[in-house]
């Protein structure tokens, strides 16, 4: 069936949305046709999620009209959108970990007049649904015991259980391993075969080309292009997305460092075991080292122990056993100050949660890791003159966009927040930088800047860099060696010149063939 003879199921006309002083959507017109998979392509901050949150009734739009099946609708809350058959799976799942899959799915269902929950009936209906779409999850287990991929299935089932005919998926593959992604795509195809329509939000070109029928490209809150899949290619989409030519897949870290045993280790990890939050071992005996001037990339799907590994190295999580040497010095576990003092630069995954104090000023955040040393610390006094000097210098050097050092941190954009962390890390000339998901959620400009800084620091300062990232492109673009973490273990470490995407992808899914 060609899209021409499909009828529009959703029409959004001149949608406008502002946040505070930023315009997120400027008069967007978007149409979804029945039975298609439509990709919404754009970089972070382009407005994809905002547009879909408007369609889902989660955000109220400032201006514009929405038509579903040709009828004008007004959504003041998601319940209105659900009633019109729209379901959305957010990037951060909206699940309650401590209750069962079934409870998560049936909560809020309005159709039954009964005061009491009829779990038997509900379970029956859910199992039918699972069979129909091939989405198998045990209804009786608690959500907290499920893997991320299974939780995503629960989210999709939740929408289908409510009779969703239009399913919105926000960056669904960001948390999946390549094999899981294949499963998801199969599910999406099955959905459209059954007459549903899918909106697929992504910034990954090859996925978009693989799964979607039609591609809508957003940039800076505007739709810049609409293409049928057969009419376009990755190169065109890439330039539409960022608004200029870019080199696809070109390595930023030009030339690579030959790793040999004569180069000094700046980080040595021996048989490290770390417990996760739910009392299950998250890191199961990893051993590796990071050399001077080297970028070691750890790839892997999130939730395979990378976070716990990073937190243990940062000094905020205690290991079960194992040894870590920082530049030859045995690391004092559970002591963040030790790592700061001995030359580890740390870029945490949750920059807002554990990296920054959002209600304080830019200066307060810049000096966080240096306030305990001279010249800032002067006996019991804090030398604010020195603090001002450092802040002004770093704001300029890292071109942090802010009203000044006294501006509140929460007024900055995501990229500039990450620059604050990067600035305070690099200022101290670290021997080692542990960077966990350093560019997640940032726009292209900020990503480039951060990549350049990391490469420069490793080259000029001879610092070792441990780059932990879910973004395979990033790992390939920066690393000298690549390791893959799967279920708490290293699947292998390989030099960049011997690494190919297919093997790494298989490793990420836990498949290890006899590789060269």
């Amino acid at each position: 069936m060609s899209p021409k003879n499909r009828s529009p199921i959703v029409e959004m006309r001149s949608i406008k949305k502002c946040f505070l002083d930023t315009v997120a959507l400027k008069s967007v017109n978007f149409t979804l046709y029945e039975g298609e998979i439509c990709a919404l392509l754009g970089e972070n901050g382009a407005g994809k999620t905002t547009l879909m949150n408007v369609l889902f009734g989660y955000y109220a739009c400032d201006d514009g009209e929405i038509y579903v099946n040709g009828k004008k609708v007004t959504f003041s809350a998601p319940r209105d959108a659900i009633a019109k058959g729209i379901g959305m799976v957010h990037q951060h799942f909206a699940l309650v970990p401590s209750i069962s899959v079934l409870e998560n799915i049936v909560v809020g269902i309005k159709e039954s007049k009964n005061l009491f929950l009829d779990m038997k009936e509900a379970k029956h209906k859910l199992l039918d649904l699972e069979k129909m779409y091939g989405l198998f999850v045990d209804p009786d287990v608690k959500v907290e015991t499920l893997s991320i991929g299974e939780q995503q299935k629960v989210e999709i089932l939740k929408a289908l259980y409510r009779g969703a005919k239009i399913l919105i998926l926000d960056e669904p593959t960001a948390v999946l391993a390549p094999l899981e992604t294949k499963d998801l795509f199969a599910t999406l195809r099955k959905l459209t075969e059954n007459g549903n329509s899918v909106i697929f939000i992504s910034h990954k070109l090859y996925e978009v080309m693989e799964i979607s029928d039609r591609i809508v490209v957003l940039r800076n809150g505007e739709i810049v292009a609409e293409r049928h899949k057969t009419e376009t290619n990755m190169r065109e989409l890439a330039s539409l997305m960022v608004g200029g030519e870019i080199d696809l897949g070109k390595r930023k870290n030009v030339g690579f460092k030959l790793i040999n045993d004569e180069i000094k280790d700046v980080l040595r990890v021996n048989d490290l075991w770390v417990m996760g939050n739910r009392g299950i071992e998250a890191v199961k005996g990893v051993t590796f080292s990071v050399k001077e001037g080297e970028i070691l990339g750890i790839a892997g799907v999130s939730g395979n122990g990378q976070k716990e590994l990073a937190e243990c190295l940062f000094g905020i999580r205690l290991p079960e056993k194992g040894e870590v040497y920082l530049d030859g010095l045995s690391l004092a576990f559970g002591n963040p100050f030790f790592t700061v003092m001995n030359g580890m630069g740390r870029i945490p995954e949750d920059r807002i949660d554990i990296g920054l104090m959002m209600d304080l000023t830019v200066e307060d955040n810049i000096i966080l890791e240096m306030h305990a040393f001279r010249p800032l610390k002067n006996g019991i006094l804090l030398n604010y003159d020195a603090a001002h000097r450092v802040s002004d210098e770093l704001i300029q050097k890292f071109s942090i966009k802010t009203a000044g050092r006294d501006a509140l941190t929460k007024t900055l954009s995501g990229g500039n927040l990450q620059k604050i962390i990067l600035a305070r890390v690099i200022y101290r000339n670290p021997r080692l930088i542990v960077a966990a998901q350093p560019t997640r959620g940032l726009d292209v400009g900020a990503i480039d800047f951060i990549h350049d800084q990391l490469i420069t620091t490793s080259k000029n300062n001879n610092s070792g860099i441990l780059l932990i990232s879910e973004d395979l492109d990033e790992v390939f673009s920066l690393s000298d060696r690549i390791a893959v973490m799967y279920e708490g273990k290293f699947m292998g470490i390989v030099d960049i010149e011997n690494a190919d995407r297919e093997t790494i992808g298989l490793w990420m899914s836990g498949v290890k063939e006899s590789c060269a």
Binding site: F19, L20, T22, A24, N44, G45, T49, T50, F56, Y58, Y59, A60, A77, P78, R79, I82, A83, M88, H90, A94, L95, V96, S98, I99, E103, N104, V106, V107, G108, I109, K110, S112, N114, L115, F116, L117, K158, R162, G414
Partner: protein, 319 residues
């Protein structure tokens, strides 16, 4: 010393002690259940101490004027609901700090209670008293030896508090609304995205909770005592907060904690009157100290609703 032990092992002492335990626990059970339903929706109501006090005061005044104890309870419920709505306005709709708002409501309600009481009764040398609730022995059951005296010769409100424990449990775990309430408390966004009105749910939880706290307050001036004193609540509201934590947000475990508090409270009262040679104030310390110790025991294992203390606003960030 000897005489004390003699007293303790007398049957009448044990009956008196255990029956008093249930009586002393009743306001705590009401308060704890009220706080549990509130906190399960994600709202900490630190206004409880003030709400119990002002409900106790208005309930007392209503009974003083009309002579009807049940009318007093009704007024207390109404006052509890009004102050719960005030709390809802501040923390649910405006999203203000639950800590500070709750303390603010407590301080305001306390001040207002004292102000209204003083205006209503003036400053007589002997404070006015009401005819309190009479015990309501359950026919036949109260004749059972030992247990009948302890369990079935109580005030009607005591039985009500017992009935509420399973009702609350069934509501939370077996009904659609209970499930919705728990999801609102654990992950308000999850609730919102399946079409549950988060703010309305939280407001209703506060209202029901406020009503229960009101009954707890009324019990103090209309059954436990027959007059209103400034310190009639005397920290029992805070004890309820502690019992919620102790009970891990479960109505049955929370009520067991309340019974423990009732036991200690009844025990110290009896020690006071036994003429034991330790200043009675030291016994008064016991319930509070044991509450703190109980908190230490459960602190690491307790799992508060994940959405507790967090106001829910949909449009918090852009992008």
């Amino acid at each position: 010393m000897g005489s004390l032990f003699d007293q303790i092992f007398q049957m009448s002492f044990i009956i008196g002690l255990l029956s008093a335990m249930f009586r002393m626990a009743t306001p705590i059970i009401f308060g704890t259940l009220g706080e549990i339903i509130t906190e399960r929706s994600g709202v900490l109501n630190l206004g409880i101490e003030g709400i119990m006090l002002i409900s106790a005061m208005f309930g007392f005044l209503a009974t003083l004027t009309t002579g009807s104890q049940w009318f007093g309870v009704l007024i207390a419920i109404l006052v509890g609901v009004i102050f719960a709505l005030m709390m809802a306005f501040l923390v649910v709709y405006l999203g203000l700090s639950q800590h500070v708002s709750g303390l603010g409501v407590t301080l305001f309600a306390t001040g207002l209670a004292m102000f209204v009481y003083r205006h209503a009764v003036g400053s007589p040398t002997i404070p006015p008293i009401v005819q309190p609730f009479k015990p309501f022995p359950i026919p036949y059951l109260s004749d059972i030896p030992f247990f009948g005296q302890i369990l079935f010769n109580q005030y009607a409100l005591v039985y009500v508090s017992w009935a509420l424990i399973p009702i609350m449990w069934i509501f939370l775990y077996k009904t659609r609304y209970g499930l919705a309430l728990r999801v609102v408390g654990e992950n308000p966004m999850a609730a919102d995205t399946v079409g549950i009105n988060v703010n309305l749910t939280r407001t209703l939880a506060l209202v029901v909770g406020g009503a229960l706290m009101g009954v707890g307050g009324a019990f103090l001036t209309l059954a436990h005592q027959n007059m209103f004193l400034i310190d009639v609540v005397g920290g029992r509201g805070w004890v309820c907060i502690a019992m919620v934590i102790f009970g891990n947000w479960d109505p049955i475990r929370g009520s067991l904690g309340a019974l423990l508090f009732g036991f200690i409270d009844a025990f110290q009262l009896r020690l006071q009157s036994s003429g034991f040679a330790i200043p009675f104030h030291l016994f008064l310390v016991l319930p509070y100290v044991i509450t703190i110790i109980a908190l230490i025991g459960v602190a690491r294992k307790s799992s508060a609703p994940a959405g507790l203390l967090k106001p829910y606003r949909r449009e918090e960030k852009g992008g």
